[in-house]
Amino acid sequence: MADRYFNPFQAIDINVPVVFHEAFTRYCQRSADAVIDQSPFPRMVDLWFLSVCVATRMELEPADIAKYDTRKIIDGSIFGSDPWRVHTMMLIAIGRTGDVQIVSEPRKMMALANGLAVAGLPKVIEMLQEGDAEPIWNLSDAVDTLLRKEKAV
């Protein structure tokens, strides 16, 4: 059913503020022999999506992208390979707005997700950098803490 909605973000590019491009270059694996401990994310979309999740978890307000000088880093077609991410982004949109009608507006959903990503990126970068170990361990520990803290609450 509804095959044409399989990836509603197919034709939407993801533009991210230029100030974060270095972080994408540094923390995402750009070749097969990348040092995983230093660059924990297999692809750029993984860093972007984790930022969406962290911002959502921390209940941050979406950033105003218009304030930034942005460049495209990811093509929306990438979600075709991870359909669960499409569903997750739709659910985030419904959960954040309380409006189910939003599912028919892919651009609105993407704008919300990207706003969250930009709000979450500084947090994720902080998680990668804060600690005495390599970025992958710093990040793992920070996610561990985030999940446990919220559970305890």
Partner: protein, 712 residues
């Protein structure tokens, strides 16, 4: 190109030998049957020397003797060495709408002299090429150019393959970058990307020329300074590029030397009665390799934690919960139709209800039930677009909800397992490293001077190798910095040009060069990637066909591919990467490299021979036959040097596919392996016996008998 004939004089064991090869398009296989040490590898070297000169010899011919080792100085102190190869080239020409095929025959002759006093000294070789026709032979200038066009030297190892050496594309002993460089070089040569490379260099030069014009426009000004700086940067870039290429090649060369010394040290330990130490070292090295692979896999698992579903569902649990509540509300209100339409439609088609009652049209009860079901279908189908999306979301996102309902954090559990695995393997790796260092100390304390000498040389080579690697990193960093600075300066120059009256035209010229450069670079990348994909797919299908009959490997190998980074990777179940050294048996390793070589030759669409020495070693049974059958099918001309053991079991395939079969015999094998004394020593002899035949010259003792005698 097809090889037709070869002739060798005083080329090592080949004092006087002539060979013919099958050029028949149907029976395209030539089999040279020869036991070990009967000149198979020497012929492979001889053919390549004839075509490419000293560069094709081991160690680029340095210190590599060519004349027969038992050459009597009394015969002559100066040994004439000659290798001749005759080949056929087919060209195609379009005339009045039809393709015209022309075949021409050529002969290439290479000769050199070696002095046989105290040291081997070889004169530079002379090469001549002749076009052959009915009336004789006409000399052709610049023979190298024709050979380079038809059989590019970079692809030499693809056309002339030593079955064992071919494994160098996948073996784990050399550095990853070296393997990658080999595969990359082979693929790029295959595509003839040298033409685009030259074009890029040409455009760089043109851009420099235009930059000079910019310099003149703004004489003495800021523009002049920037243009001068760009000019200097271009010179630096050229130099850095050349240095980087050199560093890469030197790294590869030293890497191979280290590997060769490892083999020599191993052999010396065997000879020197240090078998236990050799075994321990070998075991320790293998263990380290295995643990390093496991560590790499565990690191990947760790990284995968940040792209999987668990981290998202755990972090998003609160917001997903709210969204699911909304969807659940809609579902309860009946606004989400059930996904039963296909089921109901199926029931109508089969005319039996889910409850077992009939749905036959014309039947009173059946008609009533049909109408009810049809109404259900129609109601469901009336759902509007949003309902459709929500319905899809409601059902498709169930797994995300399931994970949330589980209560515990799936990600934390996965993370705990990854930490345990990484820490566990790391501890084993540290221990294995300590063991290996202890064994190395033991090795250092051995009084054996040969071994210590080899180890010292190895250390020096390894230092050199590491120096080139470090140099490579430094050069790459400098080039990145230079590229960035150049982009900034170019932008500044273009801005200043816009302000000048005469600048517009120069700017337009610069834009053209930049556009052409972009087109060329994109084309280069695209061709490489597309062709890489073709080679990868063909290699995979040939490989799987070759090993298809092997139940042991068939169960663990799913596919093979060449990655974008030019790594040859084999996958097992669940896309787990397999280590060719550890997880593949000898037959599969050989099949993989042969599949790569055949795929490369085929994708290149170059009609070229594949000359392969001992391709079926370490293979047996169905797999051996499958490798041979596939190789015959995929190659334009296949010349195989096979031992008697390799032939065993494949006779029928050879009966069918071979146009030429003959046997080579080394008289030195009498009396241990040969039944009759050939009455001559020091040179390889040829007889017309095929893969099934035997004559007084080539008749051998049965293997069992030879082994028995050797044991006693």
């Amino acid at each position: 190109m097809k090889l037709l004939r070869a002739e060798f004089h005083n080329f090592r064991l080949l004092r006087d030998l002539e060979l013919e090869f099958s050029s028949d398009p149907v029976r395209k296989l030539t089999v040279v049957r020869a036991a070990n040490e009967s000149g198979k590898t020497t012929i492979l070297h001889g053919l390549q020397w004839a075509l490419y000169g000293d560069a094709a010899l081991p160690g680029k011919g340095e210190g590599f003797r060519l004349h027969p080792i038992d050459w009597e100085a009394s015969e002559s102190k100066r040994v004439p060495i000659t290798a001749t190869v005759e080949f056929e080239l087919t060209t195609y020409r379009r005339t009045s709408g039809t393709m015209r095929e022309t075949r021409r025959r050529y002969r290439i002759v290479r000769s050199a002299f070696e002095d046989v006093d105290s040291q081997v000294r070889r004169s530079g070789s002379t090469v001549k090429l002749f076009a052959l026709n009915d009336s004789g032979a006409s000399p052709i200038d610049a023979p190298e150019a024709l050979i380079n066009d038809e059989l590019p030297p970079e692809l030499r190892e693809v056309f002339f393959t030593d079955g064992d050496r071919a494994l160098s594309f996948i073996e784990a002993d050399v550095a990853l970058s070296t393997k990658r460089e080999r595969v990359q070089r082979a693929i790029r040569s295959l595509l003839g990307l040298g033409v685009i490379d030259d074009a890029i260099k040409h455009v760089y030069k043109s851009a420099s020329e235009v930059n000079k014009k910019a310099k003149q426009v703004g004489s003495g000004s800021e523009l002049n300074k920037i243009a001068s700086r760009l000019e200097a940067m271009e010179d630096t870039r050229e130099k850095l590029d050349a240095d980087l290429e050199d560093a890469k090649q030197q790294f590869g060369a030293f890497d191979e030397k280290v590997e060769e010394l490892d083999r020599k040290i191993e052999a010396a330990l065997q000879k020197g009665d240090k078998e236990k130490l050799r075994k321990d070292l070998d075991h320790a090295k293998r263990e380290i390799k295995q643990l390093d692979d496991q560590l790499a896999a565990a690191n990947k698992e760790h990284s995968a934690l940040f792209r999987g579903r668990s981290i998202a569902t755990d972090l998003l649990a609160p917001v997903l919960g709210r969204a699911f509540e909304k969807l659940e509300e809609l579902h309860e209100q009946g606004k989400i139709p059930n996904t039963t339409i296909p089921v109901l439609q199926d029931r109508l088609a089969t005319e039996i209800c889910i409850c077992g009652e009939t749905l036959k049209a014309g039947d009173l009860g059946g008609d009533k039930r049909r109408a009810h079901i049809q109404k259900l279908i129609d109601d469901s189908q009336r759902a509007d677009e949003i309902q459709e999306i929500i319905t899809d979301l409601y059902y498709s996102a169930k797994p995300l909800q399931g994970e949330r309902d589980d209560g515990s954090s799936a990600w934390l559990e996965e993370y705990r397992k990854v930490v345990e695995r990484r820490d566990g393997i790391q501890a084993l790796r540290d221990e294995a490293g300590r063991k290996f260092r202890a064994l190395e100390l033991q090795l250092d304390s051995l009084p054996d001077t040969d071994i210590q000498g080899l180890r010292e040389t190895r250390r020096q080579y390894k230092d050199q190798r590491n120096r080139y690697l470090s140099n490579q990193s430094a050069l790459e960093t400098q080039l990145t910095g230079l590229r960035r600075e150049r982009e900034e300066r170019e932008a500044e120059r273009d801005r200043l040009l816009r302000e000048q009256k005469k600048g517009a035209r120069i700017l337009a010229e610069l834009e053209v060069t930049q556009d052409v450069m972009k087109v060329l670079q994109t084309a280069y990348k695209r061709i490489t990637n597309e062709e890489l994909q073709k080679v990868s797919e063909l290699m995979n299908s040939i490989f799987l066909e070759m090993i298809g009959a092997d139940p042991e490997q068939g169960a663990i190998i799913r596919r093979a591919e060449i990655s974008q980074e030019f790594d040859i990777i084999v996958y097992g179940p669940n896309d787990r990467t397999l280590n060719p050294d550890r997880d593949l048996n000898g037959a599969s390793r050989r099949a993989l490299t042969l599949a790569f070589i055949l795929a490369l030759t085929k994708v290149s669409e170059v009609e070229a021979p594949n000359v392969i020495d001992t391709p079926l070693g370490m293979t047996s049974g169905f797999v051996k036959r499958s490798i041979l059958r596939t190789a015959v099918r995929e190659s334009a001309q296949l010349i195989l040097f096979l031992t008697h053991d390799e032939i065993a079991g494949c006779e029928e395939i050879i009966d069918e596919a071979a146009g030429v079969v003959f046997t080579l015999t080394n008289p030195a094998h009498y009396p241990r392996m040969l039944v009759n004394d050939p009455g001559i020593r020091g040179k390889v002899l040829r007889c017309a016996c095929d893969h099934r035949g035997e004559c007084p010259l080539c008749m051998r003792h049965a293997d069992a008998q030879v082994e028995l005698e050797a044991a006693s």
